[in-house]
Amino acid sequence: MDKGSISDFIRNLQKQYTVVAPVRRRDLILFDELGSSDTPTLEFANSKLPPKGFFFPRSETLFRFSAKSGKMELTPAQTKSKPAVLMGVRPCDARSLVLLDKVFMTEKYTDTPYSRKRANTTVVGMACTDPRTTCFCGSVGGDPFDASGIDLLMTDVGHGYFMEALTQKGEKLLPHAPKTRSPTREELQKQGWIKSKARAAVERELPVEQAETNLENIYEDDFWDRVAAKCLGCGVCTYLCPTCHCFDITDDILDSNGVRVRSWDSCVYPLFTLQASGHNPRKSGKERMRQRVMHKFNYTVKNNDAAFCVGCGRCVQDCPVNLDIREVIKAVASQRRAALQPKEAPT
């Protein structure tokens, strides 16, 4: 498809779908619902916030309650019935949705606020042709052209987009794309070249598997004191993370009406695990940092068969103190021997 046709594509889609795509706002690239004359920003490294917020928003109403003449009534939050197209999703972020599915849609309990939106949405991926230096999808099982979680994959080949339908859902979108044609041999070559260049650009050497094993051995090590020392517990890493999914459930009231709200929370906050008795199983930064790393790179491997990190690099870029997860992984992986040796001087 020609780049010039993107507007028409979106207008066509909007007849049937709500279209959510990256837009530029106050120097930020953010996913937002497109209006009837909006065009998305499709030339970008990646969005500031991952698209998980579309399925698992920063806060969402689970239900409303009201006490009418002494009688309590609950009204479930309404979900939009119009299907949605989520466009411009990078493969790392699309993979994160597959990971989140493993948490939110288990055999025993389906998180319907999440699963309804998932079922109702077609994900249009945008292959990553120019990864950033902070990208390391290749080290955590991803790839700049990875197809997982994507229904229709677009690749920017300069003058136009390659459109590959990867699922039935994705196929349904193709008829909406105007003026598509089969690629020429040169274009195919170019795509291959772009692909290999992108693949070469992402970090693939992070010892994630070694780290996963070592994490078991260093649980009690003062290594964690050293790693946690510079963490200020701000939560940026978890809020920007495409796979972090911890949440809080709270009530908001005004008069006799109220809502029960599910909102993002973070394992790096001290109050996260604080019990009413005052007991806190993860009382200091050390335990909380350990929890975050263990959860991402060890527990989820045990429970969900995959490290919960897609290598998008958001936490690397936006950590206010430059606590770089790549460095933590490397340090964990190289810890085994150190952990068995006499303890170093504490910091």
Binding site: L30, F54, S59, E60, Q78, T79, K80, I253, D255, G258
Partner: protein, 159 residues
């Protein structure tokens, strides 16, 4: 994506509209002043909802911001005149806080006149009535509160 609420709606003043004013009154002076107004049969406007506090120094700026958020059209804080504080200097500490709060609220666009402060002694029943009248007039001129208002209980479409 989360559909931030639009808070720039115009005031909807109807003929029947009467402003709701939350009045934080210091127990020792202003509350007694209000009482005196009552016992002296000095009338004051019924728009105020009184919250008795031990001292104007007890009024956390948070209370004022919250009052505006959850339904007050205006706020009045009244305490003892300087030098009269039951706790010696609570009102003087409060004076600093209120000066900054007032500036900050007006800076972000909460109209001047929504938040008001007064010194009213226990013997100033007349002044109390005048102050309430003045505050009500100010807030009436501004119309219903339209900024900083919580929309929690209003129906919304889920994203």
């Amino acid at each position: 994506m989360t559909g931030a609420a639009d808070h720039t709606g115009e005031p909807v003043a109807t003929a029947a509209w009467e402003p709701k004013i939350v009045a934080f009154l210091c127990n020792w002076c202003s509350y007694a002043g209000a009482d005196l107004a009552g016992t002296s049969r000095i009338q004051y406007l019924p728009n105020i909802r009184v919250i008795r506090v031990p001292c104007s120094g007890r009024v956390d700026p948070l209370f004022i911001v919250k009052a505006l958020q959850i339904g007050a059209d205006g706020v009045l804080v009244a305490g003892c005149h300087p030098g009269d504080c039951h706790y010696i200097s609570g009102n003087l500490l409060a004076r600093r806080r209120f000066a900054l709060l007032k500036r900050l609220l007006e800076y972000v666009g909460v109209e001047e006149g929504r938040v008001n402060f007064a010194w009213v002694s226990a013997s100033e029943g007349g002044k109390f009535s005048d102050v309430v009248g003045e505050v009500v007039a100010r807030v009436k001129a501004l119309g219903p509160a339209r900024r900083l208002i919580a929309r929690t209980s209003k129906p919304e479409e889920s994203s």
